[in-house]
Amino acid sequence: MIKRFVGAILACVLAVTCVAACSGRGDEGNVVKPEDPIDEPVTINFWGWGDLAEQENYQTLVNQFMAEEGNENITVLYRGMSSSTYMTTLRASARNLPELFYMPDYDFLEWVSSGLLKDVSAYVTEEELSQLWPQAVDEYYYNAGTATLGQSEGASLYGLPKDLGPFTLVYNKTLLDRKIEEKGLDAEEIYATYLNPEVPMTWDQFRTLLKSLVTDKNNDGTPDDSIYGISHYEIETAVYSNNANFFNEDASEQRITDPNFIEALQFVADLTLEDHVMVPAALQSETDGFTRFLNSGCIFSFMGPWDCAQFWGFDIAFESNILPVPYNGDNPDAMSTAWVGSMGYCVSAKASSMQTAAAMRLAKYLCTNEDAQRKFYELGQQVPNIVSMAKDEYVNDTQGLLEGKDPVDRSVWVDTIDGFSEDDKIGGKVRPRYYTYSSGWYDDFLMYIDDQGLWTGVKTAEQICNAYESTFQSTLDEMIANLG
């Protein structure tokens, strides 16, 4: 017995001292080409997140993949989790990663620069990549030599995009129509001027619309019938739609003191402070915007394609539709720019070449197979990755899979992904956190402006941003140092 105890102590001491030293790597040498047969048994653990329906769908697709491959050597073990615990779990498993896993865009840089993701360039062909949204593929390129993101000379591919998710404006049509009637407004005019899926509203138009729908006669900050105009406002969206950003291109210099940036923050704050049409911060922290929207507590909110599943799953008693996000009409350079989130299918750096080959076959199946992509949009989880499919089949519902399902104007999402063109002021951009080594700074920033009282009007955006400038710059410097 004593021996065992002593053994246990030794094991613990050993393990602790080991922590600093060991970090293994898989075999780097030979690459199993995409067309090579997989002739030895491999097991692929695959981790992802999503609600229950999404997880079920993944299991089905994984089974389908194994059946279609018809290769007895490949076994895939899928594990779905809830999104709130996923990253904590993945991080805690950093030394023992599954072979294939989701990697959200905002954490990609930290993981790829830490050498935890496998270079998968050799496992996909140009042709396979060319059918996907180019901006989605581009997000998963990284140049280890220069520590830069995106396609460049010497950059390699470290993952395949799971999706591209534009987060745009959504409105409760039933509630809106009721409000229009209540206030005696001209429905036709409102739909034509403000709620046009092809022409985004300006901020002024949006405020005018909200103020005409939501009134606060006693001026106490709460609308007359406690139904707000909008649940909350996406900060990144406001900033992007005023042609501003948190930092410059390589995230080395802060830009929060840029007047456009400040104007965007103040615009968001004023929706509550001046117009009384947005849910105050205190109530926002109590009930999230989406829950409020689902319960008809506000007319507008934001949503991404993945939210559809929830809409359809619940017995929602209202119609809804989506719109491009508003932009600042007074700024000639500003365009309607929503943030577009993404997630990658990444392979563990420790995976053997055979495992990588098998994992990538699965990733490609999920990412580029038409049936799989069709299943995803049918279940309300994403806009198809395949450009041609998204632009026609998805938008026009040529397969009749989305009949009677909101939102009707899915073109808004596709336009947002597709980016700006000459006659199209609707576009999207990846969230700023993607460009930085770690993503905690964004929460820090939100907490700071909240603490300083931007949402309650204690201080203006200008005061707050100027006071935070040096702190933010040193955070950026630190992150760059971590990366280098």
């Binding site: 094991a11 613990c12 080991c18 809830s82 023992n96 689902l294 507590g297």
Partner: protein, 291 residues
């Protein structure tokens, strides 16, 4: 106060006595309402659907009574309450069986054997009670990860195998009160210390041990922090970790299911508590007054 019953009192004083009692009962019942309210609310909420529970206006009763929150807990692979129950029982049984034996043995040594530097060793052990778990957690977390025990029940079970200091402390006091005469005959017959402990001491302190075991049992049942950091696979979780993964502060839509989980995970505890209530209150009172 004892005498008031027997001595006949003037009318006014009796009225005052009655009023006093009415007042006291009113206070106690008012307080009880507060204490019962969460449980009632838990139960009611568990029969609502997610939209109903999150409605923006106040709703007391479910609009429609549904039981899917309960059935989902038994069928969903994400929130498998049955395996969580089993895992909790595995931790409970292994920790308590081994840990209690180890603790009682140590207490026996402290109380009845010639242990050199006994004060030092007891203080040594008790000094650990002051150290917050947070100050121990990170190294243990890394070691358990290295040992491949992350996401298993081992990090919850292993520390328990080495006994429980507060149990040792209470048992030492209890055992000291047991006369040595019990052991002397056995010692003369040539019984070893271990035999003395197992055959004589342990049966004598059974009740004291049981009291400690019951509090330990509840402690483990309701333990949340360690399970929540070590267990990530739903089927590996204990009840509390599973409940935590349903945390509606993170995801509003889980609320009714979380409430259903709260109801289900409380039932075994309630049964144990109510069936041993007297034991509970007495042990608690003794522990507190002595401690």
């Amino acid at each position: 106060m004892e005498r008031t019953k027997h001595i006949s009192m003037p009318f006014g004083q009796r009225i005052r006595g009655i009023l006093l009692r009415v007042f006291i009962y009113a206070v106690l019942i008012f307080g009880s309402l507060f204490l019962v309210m969460p449980y009632v609310w838990m139960l009611l909420g568990s029969f609502k659907d997610a939209l109903d529970a999150n409605a923006l206006e106040f709703r007391f009763l479910p609009q429609e009574w549904i039981i899917t929150n309960y059935t989902d807990l038994f069928t969903s692979p994400n929130f498998p309450i049955f395996s969580a129950f089993l895992n909790t029982v595995i931790v409970e049984v292994s920790v308590i069986v081994v840990g209690t034996f180890v603790s009682a043995m140590a207490a026996f040594s402290f109380a009845k054997l010639k242990l050199p530097h006994r004060t030092f060793w007891l203080l040594f052990l008790m000094s650990g009670m002051m150290v917050p778990y947070a100050a121990l957690m990170l190294p243990q977390f890394r070691v358990f990860q290295e040992l491949g025990m992350f996401d298993t029940l081992w990090p919850l079970i292993l520390p328990g195998f080495f006994g429980n200091v507060s149990m040792i402390f209470f048992l030492v006091q209890y055992m000291r009160g047991i006369p040595n005469a019990y052991f002397e005959a056995a010692r003369i017959d040539g019984a070893g210390h271990f035999v003395c402990f197992v055959k004589i001491m342990f049966p004598l302190v059974k009740t004291a041990v049981a009291a400690q075991v019951i509090f330990w049992f509840i402690g483990i049942w309701n333990d949340y922090f360690a399970p929540s950091i070590y267990l990530i696979t739903p089927s590996h979780m204990t009840l509390q970790a599973l409940l935590g993964s349903l945390n509606p502060s993170m995801n509003r839509q889980y609320l009714p299911m979380a409430l259903a989980g709260a109801v289900l995970s409380s039932i075994p505890m309630l049964i144990i508590y109510l069936s041993c209530q007297k034991f509970f209150i007495e042990s608690l009172a003794i522990g507190g007054v002595k401690g």
